[in-house]
Amino acid sequence: MTTPGAALPAPAPAVNPETTQFWAATAAGRLLVKRCQDCEHLIWYPRVICPECSSLRTEWLQVSGRGSIYSYTVNHRGEGAYQGSPPFVLAYVELDEGPRVMTNIVETDDADLAVGLPVEVVFHDTGAGPALPRFRPRRS
């Protein structure tokens, strides 16, 4: 079964002053994480404080958008914006830089899904400014 990205709903995220820059970057096709300037932890989800060392000296860092599947599921029972959607893939992707991020896997055949599958980011426009960072099997 194919899960075309275009068929998936792309609901707008909640944005607040702490995350405005992250979502502005998605609209430009860039994936950011927060980096702690004191302990160098790469922080996900993005926030002002470093949950590793309590530092408030955190900065935005662009990451490669490449990673691999940490876990995934094909959800047959969408809710909310996904109610009535065809089965879609919810996953955690472990970025090459370390953080594990919740996302959807798109442009894939369910039979090809596997933990460890190399993936790369694609951005799906929400129509409200931000774009959702989703991932597809890596082609290069």
Binding site: N16, S71, T73, G80, L90, G98, R100
Partner: protein, 388 residues
Amino acid sequence: MTIRGKAHIAGAYEHPDRKIPDSSIAQVHAEVALGALADAGLSLRDVDAYFCAGDAPGFGPVSMADYLGLARLRYTDSTETGGSSYVAHVGHAAAAIATGKCRVALITLAGLPRSQPVPRPSASALAPEAGFEQPFGPTTVSMYALAARRHMHEYGTTSAQLAAIKVAASQHAQHNPRAMLRKPVTVDEVLDSPMISDPLHRLDCCVISDGGGALVVVAPEVAADLPRQTVKVLGHGESPKLTAGGRIDLTYTGAVWSGPRAFTEAGVTPADVDYASIYDSFTITVLQAIEDLGFCEKGKGGAFVADGALLAPHGRLPFNTDGGGLCNNHPVNRGGMTKVIEAVRQLRGEASAPVQVPDCEIALVNGNGGSLGTRSAAATLILGREDA
């Protein structure tokens, strides 16, 4: 100082119905409160501490205290950790009693998700993680499915092994006339049930029910004057399990911390546990908890449950003898309360006869709230028979 033996559960009551079409939520809280107090041989006038969680309608514990006429309260607690809240409340009540803050604590849970379905309160848009999770369509089942998949990947756990947990629960539920799913099922029937979010099938999931329950926790000197056999609180532990700034590990729960804390306080080990109530929102919830609590080696939970360990009365770890959330009921999608209630029944020797564990002296209760797929909160209790 510890709470070991400093408080007793004197009353426990489970609402008999699984669908309650013509009641308000507050009314069901009142019904279970009166039921538990009657079980203890006490009344609302005796209550000086009240505990409730997010299912209580209104303003924290205040609205329900007002509704019930709890005019003598000197201690309240509305700790909200989802389904584990009520397990935590017992520990908090015991600590408050141990330090002399109160003597008779009432804990209530009630709700009507079947009769008055409301859209599941989606994680508030104000939650700091909201923007980075909600747009991708996580649902309760799919989040637990992510945990199941990763556990399978790391440890070779199979769907058939997870199904064995449902099979054991259904074997127990056949002896509970009030259980929603009383028919014993086989591993194949679990595997043949519709896929909800792979690898979790419909029968890997708990039921949805109206209902509720209540507990009365009292000081030892109060317990001594009551006609009813009480249950001793021996130990309690809690822990959240967080996402570690982006290094989430889906293969274990907060029970890796709450369990040892409870065992240490109680002065017992997993080998001493005669009966376990383990929150079973999904089969994977039980599997991870069994490993995390030390009943088997990490990663070996699949083999443990597939071997019939969970079957009462003679398995190595008889569990959820009322049928649990998987078969009996799951009031308000919060399983901690009914877990404590069934443990009290076992320690009083009042479980259904075919599943009553002989000479049941030590029971464990494990609750987990939130989601194994993101952030959650575990609470563990060790309870003992009155003479333990």
